[in-house]
Amino acid sequence: MTGNKTALKLLGLAALLAFPVLPFSSEYVMHVAVLIMVYAVLAMGLNVLPGFCNLLDLGYVGFYGIGAYTAGILALNHNVSFWLIVPGAIALGALCGMLRGAPTLRLSGDYFAIVTFGFTELVVLFLTNEIWLTRGPLGLPGIPPIALSLEFLGIDWRYDFLSEIPYYYLGLAMVGAVYVVMCRIEDSRLGRAWLAIKEDPLAAASCGINLMAYKTVAFAFSAGVGALAGCFMAQWSMFLAPDVFKFWESFLVLCMIVLGGLGNINGAIVGAVVLIALGEVLRVLLPKLGLPAETRFLVYGLIMILIMRFKPGGFFPTIAATSKKSRLILDLKARLQAERAG
């Protein structure tokens, strides 16, 4: 039973690793795969607020933008290496997350939602209008790709990420790392505190949980993950414009986590896969059905409605999916069973 599961997991991992060399994987397929990974990270990051803390964040894309522009400007204008940008961008994202979070700590429900929305609009307006810094709507073309280099050791070796394949593996590593961190946090004192806040803030406070502090950690963490996705995306796509971070993107990511199952980490990933792949599948499929390109989003919207109609809780409706699988809980279960039997 467990042996089977482990085998299945290994097989899945092997398939993921071998994916780029499979016969059907073209640059296009790889590109879509990398795009899915970017969104999977975004979805996991966003999930922290609505999924774990019941705070409807409609402005997540703002942090994505902050991360992306940090990377874009530093890499393009100052030639800073990706590997140095990442911690910096995450820290900046987290800082902005806390700054946004501080005044909104008292807000609940849709009032929180609209403030986060307004915040993102301000971020995007900043990116649009502060031309001296961001070049505004002219965009930032020509951002250098990610590179591995030993030049800082004085060794003349350098590998530029020029095709999709290195990004695929780097993306896979990023998704894996974020996933592991998310799972670990969910099954920890911190994660349980968040879930308690989600369920009932007042009862949580009465259990000794400092709401302000824990929400602030959630804001910072969620924003940091968004910024991480942003810097990866900036140097992968090599082009940024304020348009990339429009309001709709926040919604798209929100749709992913709800479709996947709010609060479920696996669900967030599945949601990203489904919604990004859906757009591409329709792109390929509709012409074959004789439908013009104009109908793509018509069908897209329809499918979203249908999914919610038949799976109102998303694909993985339960939260706390991982804590059930944790060693401690499994041991406890076995012990209780033994006691009952004995």
Partner: protein, 261 residues
């Protein structure tokens, strides 16, 4: 005999409504105090003031910490819990979509320390603490008799079990003072009887209890001391016998029928 909690001239105003008006009483360490009074008298409001959910408009709430008595009026709920005051809610407020065990683990939150980095890095300390949290939580569940339901969803518990789980969750924070708000409401006599046993067991752990309850049989049988509120004002205080015969209390609260219940 030490005083663990001293309510000193506490008032609480909601807009034009005086929910509590200059109420004073003391809670003795190791004893059980009953807080009774008609609906809307301000009993739950008093709990909320003690537990840090409301800030009293006036007056002092003095709690006996290890370091000595401190005015804790206006502290935040989590600070009160940290100091050793735990409570249950009149309308059950469990974390319904979490397992029973997690409710208690969350209740134990303030007696653990690991944070973000511990969780991310899965340090030795963190793992040890997590293991300890499970063990300790199981002890509390065992104490209230819910050990076997540890992995069930808490919303799937029966009403009486949910009340017990609320108590277990409150106990998990290792309180010195436990505030129980109508723990027997909606229970039948059998369940009420086992609740009485549980309260006695709690007392044996050196925990002081303040109890709000409308079930006079329960109150009169376990409380040594009673405080009666009406319209936010303390109208009587004393032992069960005195209270039962106090005409003002009969008029406002007990009614003629209950006086001989």
């Amino acid at each position: 005999m030490d005083t663990i909690l001293k309510i000193d001239g506490v008032s609480k105003r909601f807009g034009g409504l005086m929910a509590l008006a200059d109420v004073s009483f003391e809670v003795k360490k190791g004893r059980i105090l009953g807080l009774i009074g008609p609906n809307g008298a301000g009993k739950t409001t008093m709990f909320n003031c003690i537990a840090g959910i409301y800030k009293p408009t006036e007056g002092r709430i003095v709690f006996d910490k290890e370091t000595g008595p401190v005015d804790v009026g206006g502290s935040r709920p989590e600070q009160m819990t940290q100091m050793g005051v735990a409570r249950t809610f009149q309308n059950i407020r469990l974390f319904g979509s979490l397992p029973v065990l997690d409710n208690v683990r969350i209740g134990r939150h303030c007696r653990a320390a690991q944070g973000f980095w511990g969780a991310v890095l899965r340090t030795k300390g963190q793992k040890a603490e997590e293991r300890m949290l499970v063990e300790q939580s199981m002890e509390y569940l065992d104490f209230v008799g819910l050990k076997n339901k540890a992995l069930d969803l808490s919303s799937s518990l029966s009403y009486g079990d949910q009340r017990r789980l609320e108590i277990a969750r409150a106990l998990a924070s290792q309180p010195k003072l436990l505030l129980l708000d109508e723990p027997a409401a909606g229970m039948n006599p059998q369940e009420t009887a086992s609740l009485v046993d549980l309260i006695h067991a709690i007392m044996r752990k050196d925990i002081t209890v303040v109890l709000i309850e409308h079930d006079m049989k329960l109150v009169m049988s376990i409380c040594e001391h009673l405080v009666v509120l009406d319209h936010g004002v303390k109208i009587a205080e004393g032992g069960p016998r005195d209270i039962r015969e106090n005409p003002e209390v009969i008029e406002a609260y007990l009614g003629r029928g209950a006086a001989h219940a």
